[in-house]
Symmetry: T
């Protein structure tokens, strides 16, 4: 059975902890990733984390996840709101996929209220800060069990 | 410390398992509730589940949750899309609140894409079927820890 | 075979004959109901009429009609235009359902032109005053025959 | 007293039974018309049925119905959604007029949800297949009685 | 020099004097046409009046006006609001063309406020009842003078 | 002469003084009501105050106000923005009716800018906090005088 | 009988002949006014021409036209598209009023397609350059005759 | 303490009693002003009333009210719907300001439903005819007390 | 095997070569048709070309193409943008159908950007002038091969 | 060569330094103007500054700038968003014209995001506070050089 | 003479044959490319095929096609709907350019109905599956002939 | 003190002088850059110019500018209108940032009128051709002074 879960972070998520901490929280990504890796290990999963500011990289990686991976977690950052290319790539996935947001986009600017990504994912978890990622990992584990 | 978590289901969620099972899944609510209660007990929480087809009941109960409760989980059903009264009630809460959906509203009819509830909750979990509730319970536990 | 037909009237329809008679006609509901009951009896059907100003009551009753009833006639009043909860309840019905309006909503205010109920019913009859109900009853009888 | 009722079918309704039978039903128009004629005869009415794919023919015929006819039944087909010329012609009628649809337009594509015809008719009956026409005939008979 | 002016009336304008006289006035078209013919004769012009409820006839006639005519007057009736085919035909004209309306569309229903015809004509005269046509004839005479 | 004035408060107004005091003020409803009762008594009026989180209760009460009352004051809370059922109930009133808001909805969120209630009331008073109610009572007294 | 006709030109119409002559024509206003005065004299009317770049002046003058004048001709310039104050002033007129435009606004920029003035005038003449004014004068003469 | 209250009336309000009396009432402004002055005197306030059809005058006067005045009452007339300049001027005020309307704009034409003025005032009173002004004066007196 | 291909041209396409040659090209239809006929003959197909300014004719012909034809090529002209009747007729076709445009509608006026025809055809070829038709013929030949 | 540059400030800009200093800055206009005059003098230009709360004044002045001036700098204040009259006046200018804003309108309220002025100016400078004016002056100097 | 034709495929088109085969067909790109190369060779053209999931690569390549190429064929995939950068790059081309789609976007989701690419290309071919590319190649050959 | 200023050009700006010179001017970027470098040197600043057609590169570079730079100048090209990723990156900057456009987007196509970048920058300079960059450099120098 596949044990690898790909976790993708979109544009500007490499600035976590530095960018607008009152909005996105004060923890940096390294810290969050360490915690997630440990949680994954406890679940018998292997977490593979990548970040890019390039839409094309994310599309490439989603395509790569089509083989050798059991699940996908993606926080598309601002691409959430206009990257139909990412939607198309996600539609071509058959493994479980969870869309994650640190903040609750419905409680922010008008343009953050529409996600062009959501129609192509299994489910969405938004608004819990770093906890959103942990919940996504738990969700992926359950979804993998069900699809086996 | 408060250990009670209120879980509210809105209109038609009493039909779970009977209504459009290809959309909402085949498990009935009793079954899901039993599983959630056990999970809550394991976490040291007490789960209090209610359902109503009346918007006013839900508003009353959200107000009731203002005292003696540590967290709120709410699946507002179709009220998600027009009950500003429920939004106002939720805004008046200070305990953590998680909005839950069985399905992924962004992947369904146009009118299901807007939630008037989301701007007033801590976070949203949608699209995982009965698993959405379990994740919400996990989220509430973590949020309670942080607010203590 | 089931012979009961449920007839539901939404908010303010209890004021028929009193409210804006130049718009809604001068006959009171008692008068109309008596006529409908007699017509139903002639068809071998039993008519069960209820009215409420509470959306939740109507949702409860539509759920109740799921067992022991052969058909549903509903005039949702102003709820026609925003009660997605009622739409969801009607979607869960398998018996024939007819939406009725005394007036022709397309010929009135802008907001009366959209029905969020219509996508969930078998058919719509609008604009014939009290005659709309009689036609609905005739329609239900025919639809019951076909589904037997 | 006038006994003639004009029944007009708009574009593509001559294909009934052939065109998308899963949507419009399997009965051809000849079959439906025969049934309607008999029903009309039983009511002491004379039914005059015409069909055209030309908006102008329908406008001509509605104008013709202004004299020598007691009522009008019209299924404008796709013209329902853009023929303001037909609306204007119908506005100039003083006899009762019923708009008929085989299907329930509110449950179909977005552009089928608006009727530019409805504001000019007495009432609307939609969603009952061939039964829609029979109900319309019953409605016209009642309306004629009231206007005498 | 060409002396012929074509005057085209669109759908339902043959009902002038009969249809909603409180809106469109009480004079019939024959009466108005006689007055216009005399006025044209005084100006040394020959007026050629046609009416049709068929969009296609109006397009055919506009095309016909491309040769042997000095000007065009058109009251497109309800086609004003959706006949892009008529707009295209008018765009292909090089002689002066005046759009006429008996009433002032801006003071009526929402859908009467847009003219898809206006972008293709020389000028518009609206709101003066039968006088609108006389002014249009005067305008055409002046425009012909200028283009000679 | 009728001396009773009904005062209705909609969803969440029972939380006055507790809910977002920086928005809605710090005075609780009991305090405001006492002041209003005294003012009413000075005017020779009798004030009857009710609150509900249920739209249906408000519709019931507005219908009740049709007999035995001289005027109505209503703060519909969030129902202001979507309760067409309440609008219909208010339309059926013949006594003076004043819509009241503590805050100025035009200065808040987009969705608070439209009132579906206003088209059915005599007048609107908004933005003055508890003073809005006092002004409404003064307005009702004057309106009653005029309608006597 | 009143013989005076007020003619009002709005913002920037004092630049006629200078401003974008390919759009508005090459004749200056003095030239056009002289021609109009002579035409008015021939009709036994007295023409009173004023221009202002100030909306308030135009409102003042429309109010002034309420006494001692038989008709009003107004080219509101760019105010056509947003001056509701001018609409209100024109609504208070009882004498005939003609809205004039040199160009055909429907054939220009999007924002020039809506007139907030038109709902308050008797009729509209647009697109004929200086001839628009002459036609307006003819129209006013006829309208005055009819209202006598 | 400042005792002066400025009352500003916008375009066309000088026509009160003459313009569309069925809409705006039959009392002229002089009459209303006299009553208001007396009421103000009884409250120990001095009322300073001005009217203009010029947006710029109203902006000038609102700026003038910034010194030497205790409160402002403004009925912006049609400027309510587009004068962002007036909004900006009102935003710069620190004294209480009440927006007044004789009629209830929500019950009238579509374009009267939005107020660009409301976001910049303390509160709004609309729909009570001349009584609207009296209520505004009462409101201003109370607001002045609170800000002292 | 059927060898006949119907080619339909909508309103104003009979003016090709005369109408706005800078937009639609300088070749007349006779010239284009001759070239197409020869190309069809080389492919072993028989081309049947018709043109009408009447929507109804085009609907009639599309219905006629349902028997005895192997494919349909249609340039609906301005009907592209509003003829839902034509869409319905095309939906009832089972043979391959190609929508053709001389120009690229996306590069022209706003209203030319939506095609109500496209959802009912196999494919679209636009922007190549007369070459669009030749490509359509090639496409039809290939599509016929595939459906045999 | 012309050396005069006209600088126009629209409604409420006379309150600079007093009005919402956290938004518009704390420097008063006199201070800014002195600095600009000196900068202009250094460039060999003569600056002519005017301010008005009256749209008409600004239109008059823009027309005046058509002769004897080398360039125009305009901060239209709130008129930016609705004064089509000012747009028309600016269109008639042939000298360089720079639109200036103290703040960045795109970062403020929705209605401040559209400028109806911008389509008629050479360029726009926004968001730099008083520095916006200095940059505009530098821009005008360069533009004058190029047009000489 | 240039004989090279560049063919560009946008995001996710490398998954052809794998991704949603019921929508995009079952043939892989290698297969289609081989067929196209042979067809190009027969026409005396040289085909240069590239694919990228990166918008920037496509922009780079379109710029590269500005020299040494005779034509461009582009299937922008999901970038069709938002890549204004690609539109700008295509606008800067002078060689013929054909936009290709495997499916008919007008018959799919709402967001696929607008192409921001189309305004910048010579023509569009959509809906024919792999045949779309062959038709595009034929189109390019003809367009090259004409531009020589 | 930091002396480096980063200047970023988005997609297609490498084609300056070649692409649509009537729109974007005839000077190539090398020429403009040389001039800017010299101007920067005179101000004691060091200019670092980069261009990319890749959104991701621009996001990377904006992040890079967070350290070691005193200011940022950015012409996002077509990304102006949809790159929310760039907006997010710019929001995370604390140094002054100026958005530059060669042309005046408000005077061009509809889609060029909205900038999703502007809400995240200090100010905007648009419409002055190459001069826009020089003004931006002057602005940055002043802004740096103020923030020191």
């Amino acid at each position: 059975m596949e044990r690898r879960v790909m976790l993708l972070n979109g544009p500007n998520l490499n600035l976590l902890g530095e960018r607008e901490p009152q909005v996105y929280g004060e923890r940096g990504w390294e810290d969050i990733e360490a915690e997630l890796r440990q949680l994954a290990a406890e679940m018998g999963l292997e977490l593979e984390c990548r970040q890019s500011n390039h839409e094309g990289d994310l599309v490439d990686w989603v395509q790569e996840a089509r083989s050798g991976h059991a699940g996908l977690i993606i926080n598309p950052g601002a691409l959430t709101h206009y990257s139909y290319a990412l939607q198309d790539a996600l539609r071509a996935l058959v493994i479980p996929c969870v869309e994650v947001h640190l903040t609750n986009p419905q409680a922010r600017e008008e343009w953050r209220r529409e996600s062009v990504i959501s129609p192509a994912v299994t489910g969405v978890i938004a608004g819990f800060g770093a906890l959103s990622y942990r919940l996504a990992l738990l969700a992926v584990r359950e979804l993998i069990k069900n699809t086996k």
